[in-house]
């Protein structure tokens, strides 16, 4: 299974290093964070860093509805004369198929001139329910993507964006109805770029919720069964779970808003805030813990360590890494989880995931006994039960018998 860098503000040399050291297989670029004038040279540089790098461009068209708010934070997408395919849109405009097709044409045409590995068709976010005007618009974007792309005569694969809010995954009947339509498209994209949006990228419980995990996995599974390729944006630690359900790739980045997808990224900036504490992604715990927790536990509970080269980025004396190297360790750890868990067919991969969660529970038990105080709220084992229950729900939805 592949892992991509979810690109964003403040890359520096992170992506280049991730590619060079083969922690990641490619990058999903964010136009919000790259001036259009530098886009082609950025792609060229990544290609130089790694000849085999897979480079994708998320057109971030889903921000068009937020863009009608003059205070929205569009970054380079909002710059005059830049990214001309991106225009503020009202929902009513997108109910017109002509407008929708023009937006598809402009967005795909723009990407066809870039040295990307595949193209990503635009779409909007389905914010609350599959039984909504936004869902109908989203389906129209998907339905028309192949027809419009064929006119370009580009031979590269084309992925349709499927961007949904986590709330849409809570109603399984609606999800099934939506997938029913999605899986009998006449004009099929090669695959889907799947995004599951949360309200706050800081709230773990929004993603680590059994229904959300099961629904996200189920989308991957159904699309894979129906012959599509699936790339999940912002999938972070869920990447191997989505891989076990059929995904081809996942992605994550260096800030919390690159590890979980949220339209907050385009909201007016709130200002202020502190830099987050550096964390270590433990494969054993399937979670990130603070460098301080790592320092306290590394000798007492060695099972929290991954035994990978990137462990050295967290020196034994202080355990505090250089901030710009934190993401390298994350990529390396997720790559390791992908390798360990996503193998040998779906049943086998799901069993491995369940086994890894049982192991995580045990390591948490050992770790909690060794710590003088409880884990930091983001470091605790809250995700384990949600993942276990999510896998069980997914098995039921997918009619699997995992014993």
């Amino acid at each position: 299974m592949k892992l991509y860098a979810q690109h964003g503000h403040g890359d520096g040399k992170k992506t280049a290093e991730g590619l060079a050291k083969k922690y990641i297989d490619g990058v999903i670029l964010s136009p919000k964070d790259i001036p259009e004038s530098k886009l082609k040279s950025t792609i060229k540089q990544f290609r130089t860093d790694s000849r085999k790098a897979e480079i994708l461009f998320d057109p971030q068209f889903y921000a068009c509805l937020a863009a009608v708010d003059p205070a929205s934070n569009l970054g380079n997408l909002g710059e005059e004369d830049a990214y001309a395919y991106f225009q503020p849109r009202r929902r009513s405009q997108l109910l017109s198929e002509r407008q929708l097709c023009q937006d598809l044409d402009a967005t795909l045409q723009f990407q066809s001139e870039l040295a990307v590995s595949a193209l990503i068709a635009p779409n909007i976010l389905i914010p609350r329910s599959f039984d909504s005007a936004e869902a109908a618009i989203s389906m129209d974007f998907i339905r028309n993507a192949r027809k419009r792309y064929t006119k370009l005569g580009d031979a590269r694969p084309m992925f349709a964006t499927l961007a949904i809010a986590r709330e849409t995954l809570l109603d399984k009947e609606e999800l099934l109805r939506f997938l029913n339509d999605l899986t009998i498209l006449e004009d099929r994209p090669d695959g889907f770029y799947v995004l599951v949006g949360v309200n706050s990228t800081e709230a773990r419980s929004e993603i680590y919720h059994a229904d959300v995990i099961a629904g996200w996995m189920f989308i991957n599974h159904v699309l894979k069964l129906n012959g599509y390729r699936i790339i999940n944006g912002y999938s972070d630690i869920l990447t191997p779970f989505l891989g076990s359900a059929g995904a081809e790739a996942g992605a994550t980045g260096w800030w919390s808003n690159l590890r979980a997808f949220s339209m907050d990224r385009f909201a007016p900036p709130a200002g202020g805030g502190r830099l987050p504490i550096e964390r270590y992604l433990s494969c054993g715990l399937m979670n990130r813990i603070t460098f301080d927790e790592l320092g306290r536990l590394r000798d007492e509970v060695p099972a929290i360590l991954n035994g990978l080269g990137t462990d050295k980025l967290y020196p034994e004396e202080s355990s505090q890494p250089q901030r710009n190297q934190e993401v390298l360790q994350s990529w390396d750890a997720i790559r390791q989880l992908n390798t360990q868990l996503v193998q040998g067919g779906m049943d086998s991969a799901l069993r491995k995931c369940l086994g890894a969660l049982d192991k995580a529970q045990k390591i948490y038990g050992d770790a909690e006994a060794s710590l003088p105080r409880p884990f930091d709220p983001k470091s605790n084992d809250q995700h384990v039960e949600a993942l276990q229950e999510g896998l069980r729900l997914f098995s039921g939805l997918a009619e699997l018998d995992l014993g």
């Binding site: 997938l179 029913n180 899986t183 009998i184 099929r188 599974h221 129906n226 018998d401």
Partner: protein, 300 residues
């Protein structure tokens, strides 16, 4: 009410192009004959317009429904090109009166072979995987033509409606589009029921809103059922002594047998595909017909 067909002499009189007639099968209000039409042997179907129903209004409704089904079946067969679907014969549908009863007669090509149900009942040698793949491929091609060319669902794929021929270029042929459902046409079933064979019912067909979500994946399910039963000589779900409720309940809720358990000599890949096509939720059945056919073509 038992249906007693008219004498062969009276049928020949009503359909003078028929030279010779032998009863082949009978069921419901329909009799199928092998018939000599010109120099060819054909299958002649005689349908009695149902007399069931108590009032004149109900009789008129049934008559309209029956005529509508025959017209649709014949229209559809006339448009289908794939050899995996039965072809029309020389006798176009004609409405006749015999002994005061109304009948519609028409013919289809004669297929020299056995239907899979008879082969199953004979409990002969089970097919090898290559033959099971050929059967699946033939059914996929038929489903592809019906769906992609005519937006129609067969709705009655079952061993009884598949003929095995001794022809390597045309090994299996799917019959009987009598209850085929055209997405673009008005429903014909006036009592709101679902015309089907319960033993070969796709789970979604048992749901009240099935017409809103129906598509070719119901045929994929019944195609897989047919391949399973033909290959394993056992139905993956139903039991012979089940009543209607038990049969439908099994279709809706009971996980089917795994083909690999019944046919350990078959490849895991083929068994997994059949198992996947037998999932209760249509979304979980692989829907890329082109890819499925290509996969079967390679290994059939």
């Amino acid at each position: 009410m038992a249906f007693a067909p008219p004498s062969e002499e009276k049928i020949r009189k009503a359909f003078p192009m028929i030279a010779d007639l032998t009863e082949f099968a009978k069921g419901g209000f329909k009799v199928v004959y092998t018939a000599t039409v010109g120099k060819n042997c054909e299958m002649f179907k005689l349908v009695c317009l149902p007399q069931a129903g108590k009032s004149d209004e109900e009789k008129a409704t049934y008559r309209k429904e029956s005529l509508g089904r025959i017209r649709r079946e014949v229209d559809l067969l006339g448009k289908c090109r794939r050899p995996e679907l039965v072809k029309l014969g020389r006798i176009a549908p004609a409405l006749v009166q015999i002994d005061g009863e109304e009948y519609v007669g028409y013919s289809e090509e004669f297929l020299e072979g056995s239907n899979l149900w008879n082969l199953l009942r004979a409990r002969g040698v089970k097919p090898d995987e290559a033959e099971a793949r050929r059967l699946l491929l033939a059914l996929l091609k038929a489903v592809d033509e019906l769906w992609n060319k005519h937006r129609t669902i067969h709705r009655d794929i079952k061993p009884e409606n598949v003929i095995k021929l001794a022809n390597s270029r045309r090994p299996f042929v799917l019959l009987d589009l009598g209850i085929a459902y055209g997405l673009l046409e008005t429903g014909l079933t006036h009592d709101g029921g679902t015309p089907c064979t319960p033993r070969y019912l796709a789970p979604e067909m048992a749901k009240p809103d099935f017409r809103h979500n129906l598509d070719f994946r119901s045929d994929l399910y019944t195609a897989a059922l047919t391949v399973f039963e033909y290959s394993a000589q056992i139905h993956p779900l139903a039991k012979t002594k089940d009543d209607l409720i038990q049969t439908i309940s099994r279709a809706l809720h009971q996980p089917p047998r795994h083909l690999k358990n019944e046919r350990p000599d078959f490849s895991q890949e083929f068994c997994d595909l059949i198992d996947q096509m037998l999932k209760k939720k249509p979304q979980l059945r692989p829907s890329n017909l082109q890819a499925l056919m290509a996969e079967m073509e390679v290994k059939s």
